[in-house]
């Protein structure tokens, strides 16, 4: 699991790549907490185009980001999920809590 970032005009984009399972979730959540503290973004986009695998542990990470952004008065959404992660997002019903933007 890798996380790359881009920041501009108050918007932090988190580019997730690799596999986000329970084994990876704790360090990913810790790193994301650090990034949110560092950038204090107004908006946060989670780009999943590079993510090859995700399960419900990844859903829990997204819910955690959404709680933090809500506390900070900001918004969070998911961008470009594909393949397996997209099917997991669909099955979880996360879009009721965090908007999912599908390109194409």
């Amino acid at each position: 699991m890798n996380i790359h970032t881009a920041f501009s005009a108050g918007r932090l984009t988190l580019y997730l790549s690799g596999e986000l399972d329970h084994h990876e979730a704790r360090s990913a959540a810790g790193l994301i907490d650090q990034l949110l503290d560092e950038y204090l973004p107004r908006d946060c986009a989670v780009d999943m185009s590079g993510l090859n695998f995700m399960d419900s542990s990844g859903i829990a990470v997204i819910i955690r980001i959404s709680r933090r952004l809500k506390d900070m008065g900001g918004r969070v959404w998911i961008e470009n999920p594909a393949g397996q992660p997209r099917r997991v997002l669909d099955a979880s019903g996360i879009d009721r809590l965090v908007p999912v933007a599908i390109s194409r």
């Binding site: 695998f53 419900s56 099955a91």
Partner: protein, 146 residues
């Protein structure tokens, strides 16, 4: 000839084995010529079942997990994941969406995802004795083998 094929894997409940278990399951399923989407579904369900053993069945110790994959006579794939951990008091309640005893780090969506990605899901559990999750998935036959 496929009808009798099976594998059995025993491993300790270390989280680094989550990726290994789902990759092994996908490799076994490959002989059924699954689509990419079917491979993803199998990996997801295995990841959920194995993670539950690691997180819930053995919260404070490293215990044994046994995964068996089997091709049923009708060509369906059966996946069984077993632990000898704490067991589940109320299985019906545990399987409800959003139910979790895991707090902040869990979302309570594991069984819901297993259920929606597999054709059949059965959970047997006894408190103090352990849990067995059995899942069955029919794979579309894409092309006839020669």
């Amino acid at each position: 000839m496929n009808a009798q094929n099976y594998i059995k894997l025993d491993f300790p409940s270390q989280s680094c084995n989550e990726a290994f278990a789902r990759t092994a399951a996908a490799a076994f399923a490959a002989q059924l010529d699954p689509t990419l989407e079917e491979i993803g579904d199998i990996k997801t369900a295995v990841s959920e079942a194995v993670t539950n053993c690691i997180v819930h069945a053995y919260p404070k110790e490293i215990g044994r997990i046994s995964m068996r994959l089997r091709i049923l006579p009708d060509g369906q794939l059966e996946i069984s994941v077993r632990d000898w951990g704490c067991g589940i008091e109320n299985v019906e309640q545990a399987m409800k969406p959003l139910f979790t005893t895991g707090g902040e780090e869990r979302g309570g969506m594991g069984f819901t995802i297993m259920d929606s990605f597999m054709d059949r899901l059965r959970v047997r559990s006894a408190p103090g004795k352990g849990t067995t999750v059995v899942m069955v998935r029919a794979l579309r036959q894409r092309r006839k083998r020669i």
